[in-house]
């Protein structure tokens, strides 16, 4: 690694290790990593894997905050390893651990089965209000209609908001901030017609009312999605549905 030689800076990286076949429980292992100011925490981990300890496991792909695979706890905060720089830890040490609130598969790799199962449940795709044939052309949308949901479509499924959410930590049944942001992204899309179906999930016992308006999810989100806003908008809507259902003649009451 030519770029790391010569400048003399070294940082102590404490990494939470867990190899299920040999470790009883997770433990911290320290590595001394030479670095330059342009190196991310992800690059620090790559240095460890390439030069110090090939057994270290972690997820990554894009290196540019787009794929959402490198979420981890960095000095106790949920962050993307590729978007966090080693130069920002002037004390000369940084602690890197697997994302909070998820079971550890191995080292920094967590199991995201729970999230993926929930993602499937909300049908994260547009279910057209009215089918159009090819001859009828595309589904049109005005810029104002786009504005309503665009921010929520930036979610990269990095799960940082789940590691930030104390309610998800206490009760993993809660669908959680990221899923609510995505649910809202489709429900708020003028071309979509499946909001009623998705609101059953938002208004369920696993839904929005598990949120106690902590707001940390939106703070840690690397894409400014503001999942807390999606949750809160849907509290109002779910409450509206709840009471309207009582005055409707005969609805899909459950």
């Amino acid at each position: 690694m030519a770029e790391t030689s010569g400048n003399g800076k070294v940082i102590r990286v404490e990494v939470l290790r867990y190899r299920p076949e040999q470790d009883e429980e997770p433990f911290l292992q320290g590595y001394d990593v030479p670095f330059t100011d342009d190196m991310s925490v992800l690059q620090g981990l790559q240095y460890i894997k390439d030069w110090l300890d090939g057994t270290l496991s972690f997820r990554w792909s894009c290196r540019m905050a787009i794929c959402g695979s490198c979420g981890m706890m960095i000095d106790g905060e949920p962050r993307l390893a590729c978007k966090t720089f080693l130069r920002d830890f002037p004390a000369g040490t940084v602690r890197v651990e697997a994302l909070a609130h998820f079971p550890i598969e191995r080292d920094l790799v967590i199991r995201m089965d729970d999230f993926l199962a929930k993602l499937e449940r909300i049908k994260p795709y547009i279910i057209p209000k009215e089918e159009r044939t090819l001859a009828q052309g595309e589904y049109l949308q005005t810029p104002a209609q786009l504005d309503v949901y665009e921010q929520f479509s930036s979610c990269i499924n990095c799960l940082l908001c789940y590691a930030a959410c104390p309610q998800y930590g206490l009760n993993p049944d809660f669908v959680g901030p990221g899923i609510m942001a995505l649910l809202h992204r489709y429900n708020a899309d003028s071309r979509d017609g499946a909001a009623v179906e998705r609101m059953e999930i938002a208004g369920s016992e696993a839904g929005v009312f598990n949120c106690t308006a902590v707001g940390y999810c939106s703070e840690v989100c690397p894409k400014h999605v503001d999942p807390a806003n999606a949750v809160n908008q849907n509290k109002t809507r779910a409450a509206g549905d709840y009471f309207l259902r009582l005055v409707r003649p005969k609805g899909g009451a459950k």
Partner: protein, 122 residues
């Protein structure tokens, strides 16, 4: 993930909590000021602002009754909901018994307030 299929009854309590929170934000500070500072220290308001005859007249007027009722009842629903959720955050998880205790107390205070307000006459 069973709870995903069951509709939550939270909107009832969340609605009362929200209404109480709004009211608390609007009236809470000024009520603390009037009842806790201004009247006892005779600041701004006259010393007899909360005298027995005045307060009785207030509670006998339909508008005063209404105001007293929503302030007492909704503040209480707001507080009990908040306490229940704070206990949850502290690791005391809301079983049915705890929910009954919290919301039951709010209901009891609501009914007591209604009863007293009717009892003071019109």
């Amino acid at each position: 993930m069973k709870p995903i299929n069951r509709r939550s009854n939270a909107p009832v309590f969340w609605g009362l909590f929200g209404a109480g929170g709004m009211l608390a934000a609007l009236f809470g500070p000024v009520l603390v000021f009037i009842t806790g500072i201004a009247v006892p220290l005779v600041l701004i308001l006259p010393a007899d602002a909360m005298s027995w005859p005045r307060m009785q007249a207030f509670a006998q007027h339909w508008a005063g009754k209404g105001l007293l009722f929503v302030v007492v009842a909704l503040f209480m629903w707001h507080a009990m909901h908040r306490i229940l959720h704070s206990l949850h955050d502290l690791g005391v998880h809301a079983g049915t018994a705890l929910k009954f205790a919290c919301y039951g107390l709010a209901l009891l205070v609501t009914m007591t307030a209604a009863w007293i307000l009717v009892a003071v006459g019109f």
